[in-house]
């Protein structure tokens, strides 16, 4: 399906969702999803305690748990903010340790670059992490064949990196970016990096063939994300996820509901999530699509709401003001 067809279908689905027909079949009242905006003007602050307080306030229990942090590393570019900033990863890792996690690991199966030196085995990242935090190259390692609970791609199973399959708690830590095929890339799209490159290649072209949106949705139904923290301190606008420009927003978006984190981030970026196909479809099985499903906490969203530049095809997905 081409991008224009995606958008056309998104508009139809959005209208249906607005009428209450699709999300949860109009039967069930959606859960209210807390989403917290944490002001973070730059990466210089030790953010561990603040993040721990918010996660605890959201009821995330980590005591004695095996926690996997899944940042987004695609490529290393000297000027472009493509990857989740190491300071955010270190802050979240520190927060998990504060909350009593038995094990904290940072794992990623980087989508373009095979050499783990440029992602989770980067000395720069390791130097910022607490010594107790492990770094796991998910591209090169064991995988567990896991039944695909979505069924849109036609793939019977996903080969999930073993640390993903075995984690008690998975925290998705994406960068706030536009995406040239999907519109935005946030907590749910970040799940591509749970699949090892030795099974899927670099890039994970099989997922492109089966439909990027289908793949995001199948993964979102198969892999449980327990918490999402979006690095919007500096995001990427324009031709994301690798060719865009830096866009400072100055906030982290935190939620135990990944779709709610994604839709809130999309609104902060100036996009109407009801016009982004995969977010609309994810609203069929995850709470948090509509603004009224979300309870915003923390800073006033007006402080951060902005308008991300995007490719022509996604200008139709713009909306707002939302706050």
């Amino acid at each position: 399906m081409k991008r224009r067809e995606f958008l056309k279908e998104a508009a139809v689905l959005a209208n249906a969702a607005a009428l209450g027909g699709l999300a949860r079949g109009g039967q069930q009242r959606p859960a209210l999803c807390p989403v917290t905006l944490l002001s973070m003007p730059d990466y210089g602050r030790d953010m561990g305690k603040e993040i721990a307080d918010i996660m605890a306030g959201d009821g995330l229990v980590l005591k004695g748990k095996k926690v996997l942090l899944k940042p987004n590393f695609v490529e290393a570019h000297p000027e472009r903010p493509i990857n989740t900033n190491p300071a955010v990863i270190a802050g979240v890792a520190s927060a998990c340790l504060r909350l009593g996690a038995a094990e904290v690991a940072v794992g990623e199966a980087s989508g373009h670059r095979r050499d783990p030196w440029f992602s989770v085995l980067s000395p720069a990242l390791k130097s910022m992490l607490d010594r107790r935090v492990k770094c796991l190259d998910l591209n090169h390692g064991d995988a567990v064949a896991t039944l695909n609970k979505g069924g849109r791609t036609g793939l019977p199973a996903f080969y999930l990196a073993r640390p993903v399959a075995e984690a008690d708690v998975l925290i998705s830590l994406p960068k706030m970016k536009t995406h040239h095929y999907a519109g935005v890339t946030l907590c749910l799209k970040n799940l591509f990096g749970t699949l090892p490159g030795i099974y899927y290649g670099w890039p994970k072209n099989l997922l492109h063939f089966r439909g990027i949106e289908n793949s995001i949705l199948d993964l979102a139904q198969t892999v449980r994300v327990h918490y999402g923290i979006i690095d919007g301190v500096v995001g990427m606008e324009g031709d994301g996820p690798i060719m865009g420009k830096a866009k400072p927003v100055g906030a982290l978006v935190l939620s135990p509901f990944p779709l709610a984190a994604d839709t809130t981030a999309a609104r902060l970026m100036g996009f109407d999530p009801r016009k982004i196909l995969y977010l609309v479809q994810a609203g069929r099985f995850l709470p948090g699509l509509r603004a009224e499903d979300v309870v915003l906490r923390g800073e006033n969203p007006k402080r951060f709401a902005t308008r991300f530049d995007c490719l022509e095809d996604f200008k139709r997905a713009r909306g707002g003001p939302f706050f």
Binding site: E75, A76, H77, H112, R113, R114, D115, P116, W117, F118, L121, K126, K134, C135, D137, H140, G141, D142, A143, A145, Y159, G197, I198, Y199, Y200, G201, W202, P203, N205, L206, H208, F209, D239, I242, M243
Partner: protein, 287 residues
Amino acid sequence: MITALEKAALVNRLLSFALPGGGLPYYRQGGPSAEPALLALLALSASGAAGVSAKPLLSWVSGLQNADGSVGLNPDHRSQGLWLTAPAAVVFHHFGLKEARDRTLGFVTSVKSVTVANDPNIRQDNTLTGWPWVRGTFGWVEPTAWSVVALNVCGLVGHPRAVEGRAFLLDRQIPSGGWNYGNPGLNDRELLPFWDTTGLALIAVRGKTDAARVRASLDLLEKSQEKIVSPCGLAWTVMSLESYGRDASRLKQRLFGVMNSQPDDALNTAHFAAGLIALAGQKVFLP
């Protein structure tokens, strides 16, 4: 100068990762996987240590070969990772396993990437056939380069697939030099090269390509030496520069230093094995 004793210590360190069942994991405490075993076998061969120590690895790898000649990722997922069949062909060739080698070559030459019509907005020839990571998908630089290397090493330099594979690789070369996963540019902007992929692609096209066509890539590696810091990047840069007769002695010393200083928990055995091949100086990826 790296002494034979120092190289032997590196070989022993690599072998300390070997699993009781004969395989090798990428990382300590992982399960066995084909790529580290294949590169370790080549490292043992290049280091002159392919005696008794190679036998369990070779037997384990041979056991991964499927009826159709392909070699999969590991015993539990034999149908996955079919791109590993090409490096397996190189290993079977060097270890004199002719029947196994010929079966891998049969498989390699049968696998084709999906091609599509050219897009005027993207300056690459999408009609060229290369090799995919996964059957039924597009061709990408690394699996194509491995397949061309396998055909070259096994005496099929002139095979039509090798010829088209080289054309594919040259087409995906970034105009200012180097290769990445397989897109030289997007929307008229060049993408960044990767050191490891650049090294492998240069080795694949060597000998049958006009030197001028790859000069920018070789020059890029040469002038970027100070920026290349990872074991994997250093290993493939050393191998490719030496394949073209360029000096890589300083890089070799750095590679040796990096390999020695790597903590066990960050040591990727496939990259470590590639480092050993580079330090050995035996050109196992050339005909």
